[in-house]
Amino acid sequence: MEGLKNFFATKGGIIFVGLVIGVLAPVLQKLGNPPNMGICVACMERDIAGALGLHRASVVQYMRPEIIGFVLGAFLSALAFKEYRPRGGSAPFIRFILGIFAMIGALVFLGCPWRTLLRLAGGDGNAIFGLLGLIFGIWVGTRFLKAGYTLGRTQTSASKATGLAFPLLMLGFLILLLIDPQPEGEPKGMLLFYSIKGPGSQHAPLFISLGVAMLIGILAQRSRFCTMGAFRDLLLFKQGHLFLGVAAFFLSAWITNIILGQFNPGFEKQPIAHTMQIWNFLGMTLAGLAFVLAGGCPGRQLFMSGEGDADAAIFASGMIVGAAIAHNFGLASSPAGIGPNGAIATIVGLIICVIIGLTMRRR
């Protein structure tokens, strides 16, 4: 167990994890997930918001087992390796706000950092602008970190149960999904909402998605895989450890896409993408900045939630609420372009994140 523990902290370990995730994501796509969306933490949390009826965008409603699996896999891994540690209380409401704006930014672009790389690995040139925006947003965030930005210390919780809340919520979602499956061709089960067309209707078989996501949850919990941290550490410390994992993830996804016939280079008519490049850039600038200020990419926030981090759970909850806001008020983009209020929401989000960056400082 100790040897395994150390392996994942090495260069070889993080590269191995990146390679494995890079193969699994396009395979999930082959098995039914939407195009270039084998894994997209933002899109999948948005689908969960839809399944719960928090928004009623009929094409994006599905209780995605990948999100559930990420949290439960990380939870089991943290338990097995004695890293489960219930904690919380580091500026929770600020983290909730950051989660909301991270999601709004991601839905203006149409993808989280994971999907940015998967879109690129599938040949979607528009993702270049998203990636540049992500890197720029992260760079802005590192300026705040250098100037003493902090959300303050988290506290170890008195009760072990505190950290169980989010994993238990995910278990509850899984039970709901199992007892309330989609009636053939219907948009609603007993409780859950489903899509009968669009990305929400496209999914790999439930148990394959769940199993793959739990495996990724375990590997990412062990290795601390973080798509935002990869660029942040390069920009801030010139340290490439996490970047090696993300580079491996991109390369293996690209090669897997070529093998599976899923690599279609170009800018026009890319799946679940638009060509308004300034908003692709600025949407991901907002998301990248929010991820830095909250200390992790959306995947990493889920893995930390599984380790008992209630602050990360609050950020993830903020993202789910952010998805509801984005779809209820016309902020989310579609293949036709940005939503009617997407531009103003992005600018408001950037202003609020900059204010948070400037005001939350070490005294």
Binding site: R153, G229, Q239
Partner: protein
């Protein structure tokens, strides 16, 4: 007397930032860094080594780890 950096409870990448700030300030000597997660323990150790500091010892404490690093 070793300089002490208390990075317990801080989000990523603050423990590494504080450690690197202290490394820069001291140039050489001994630093004790307190962290409360395995992730921070790994990140701080990796950052210290990349700056040419040696990990003297890592002691598990009630609320995390004490990492002692040194440069002559």
């Amino acid at each position: 007397m070793a300089e002490i950096v208390d990075a317990r409870g801080l989000s990523c990448p603050e423990p590494v930032l504080l450690t690197l700030e202290t490394i820069k300030k001291l140039g050489k000597g001994e630093i004790e860094i307190l962290v409360d997660t395995d992730t921070s323990k790994e990140n701080v150790s990796r950052a210290a080594q990349s700056m040419g500091w040696q990990i003297l010892k890592i002691v598990e404490e009630e609320k995390g780890y004490k990492i002692t690093i040194k440069k002559d």
